[in-house]
Symmetry: C2
């Protein structure tokens, strides 16, 4: 078995966490009898400063033949505005390949400690990734005058809302049979009432799944006060964005938060990336936490159909965090990125 994987290390600590993952991925592949054909793309803010583009004009076409994309981090605001870097690389990939389901698991790895007293939670957030509040529609008039008005329009389509909910219900069915749908229908009476209605319709096809509806403010509070009461959480682009950073926080920080941008139609590549950004403040020092990227790589192996290898990688990662000897500075330790990755590789079976 061979799988074509595109690597986009990106900016800042991105290349460090991607490089660290490579030996782990290669060892997992050889232990489990498959090959990863990895192609590296230097698309980044550096490339933008040198060429005027984050990626080549045919970048999306270059990625298309791959089964998956593993991405480090994109952006370096002090050098290139986010409006250029994110809109020139990360967001076009998510949209071009219609990676509509952004999946982020939130639980504490063994040995990890979070900011909450509660430690027993296991949440899977599923964020709509292609429309809604981040549609990019809007405008401004009377710019720079006292009369200025800015509008930003959220656009929700039935296709978009229905498919993310169906995706969520499928996940819920495989897990606990419980799904939380997130809206703010008492204050946003068009988009969110629509979301509620579609939820009700889709729910009719999944009588085995119990649905709870929460307002975004209430579920944000719940993630902190009673995270153990949540399982699969489905939310719009903005609400999911917020809840997954909150999820990252309660699982011990961005260093521990993986993510998968999925298009279930396998003719298009899905993308796997840590939730953290490029962290310019620690870039180049070899001390970035590789856990989020290694966990993302495990999600990628699952998606490629290499579930045994994915399980083995997650088990090795958990063994290293459980032992607690190797911790990067963000976790109060003094280990280096490569120390952690090597220890994970050593524990693969």
């Amino acid at each position: 078995r061979r799988h074509a994987v595109a690597l986009i290390p990106g900016d800042g600590i991105g290349p460090e966490v991607i490089d660290a993952s490579l030996e782990v991925l290669e060892k997992a592949a050889s232990l489990h009898g498959f090959a990863l054909d990895m192609t590296r793309f230097d698309w980044s803010c550096d490339r933008y400063l040198a060429t005027g583009r984050m990626m080549p004009e045919d970048g999306i076409d270059q990625l298309r033949p791959h089964a998956a994309i593993l991405l480090g981090a994109v952006g370096w605001p002090a050098r290139v505005p986010d409006s250029v870097s994110l809109h020139g690389l990360l967001l076009p990939i998510r949209k071009s390949f219609d990676q509509f389901a952004n999946m982020r698991p939130h639980r504490l790895l063994p040995g990890a400690t979070g900011p909450l007293k509660s430690e027993a939670f296991d949440i899977l957030c599923i964020r709509e990734n292609t429309e809604g509040e981040y549609s990019g529609a809007g405008g401004r008039i009377h710019v720079g005058t006292p009369a200025e008005v800015a509008v930003e329009t959220s656009i929700f389509t039935r296709r978009g809302v229905e498919r993310i909910l169906r995706f969520g219900f499928e996940q819920a069915r495989r897990r606990s049979g419980r799904l939380a749908s997130v809206t703010k229908s008492n204050a946003q009476k068009y988009s969110m009432v629509f979301w509620d209605e579609v939820t009700e319709e889709v729910a009719a096809d999944y009588p085995d799944v119990t649905v709870s509806r929460y307002h975004i403010d209430a579920i944000a509070a719940r993630m902190v006060m009673a995270p153990e009461t949540l399982d699969v959480v489905v939310a719009s682009n903005l609400f999911g964005d917020i809840l997954t950073d909150l999820g990252a926080a309660i699982q011990g920080g961005l260093g521990f938060a993986p993510s998968a941008n999925i298009n279930p139609d396998r003719s298009q590549p899905s993308m796997f990336e840590p939730v953290h950004g490029s962290a310019p403040d620690i870039a180049g020092r070899g001390i970035a936490n590789p856990v989020a990227t290694l966990w993302s790589a495990a999600l990628m192996l699952d998606h490629l159909g290499e579930e045994a290898a994915g399980r083995s990688l997650l088990a090795a990662l958990s063994a290293v965090t459980a032992e607690g000897r190797l911790r990067t500075p963000d976790q109060g330790g003094q280990s280096r990125t490569t120390d952690v990755a090597r220890a994970v590789a050593d524990r693969l079976s």
Copy 2:
């Protein structure tokens, strides 16, 4: 000195927490040498079911002559849809009196315990209360068909953004001199880039205040991971709504979270209310936590210019929570609403 105060107990536990506050407020007034002329309005879901209106047609005019409004809770979704109850009472008051600054302090009262390991934080959230994501603009087409599209438009005006930021900067100046401005300008390039620009302009008038800019996802995570790094936080209607529920969560739950809807122009009444809702599940049992309402009443006294009485009320409240003997069931105790209120009244000085 006399102050006209409108009481709107509202629904569910609303009347219970308002009634409990009355004896405390009356004692505070008599100790500090002023009078509160309190008028009670029975506007509520009950009234809606009996008359078809949450408040009379001239309700806003009836409220106008008061210096302040103390509100319990509005809404009882099982009996009246939120779209009727909230849009028929709570939201029209906020909008008619242009109560554009929704202020919510988030800190642990002495003796209170929250879900975080961190306990040393003192945040003042200031939420824009009249426009933005809750403007109510939008629509749906092809309703109920596979082609349906729903849009919801956020509208931000320079006047609206500028005044809430100025309000925030004034508060920051009185506190630590630090202000956090919340946006999501990397994904919402009209409304939030506008907000960033206005922040920069207003900041120029406050060279003594240090401004940090956060994206909503990042600051939500920060409120959980490092709340002690935040002081005054200024956010849009939606972002403030989310952050203040999160703030309520970290301060020990909604039972502890007060709020003030302020129009600094004192010719219009401001409104004070606990952040919690009507809690139909425990309504009528006399066990609602009155702390959030008592704290809101203290904010009201401050606003009325009775700062000494406000301080005394907050001190009495803190003494009761610090002692920890009287706790309502939401805090793991067995006390009744009136027990807690009476203890606070007893400690007033």
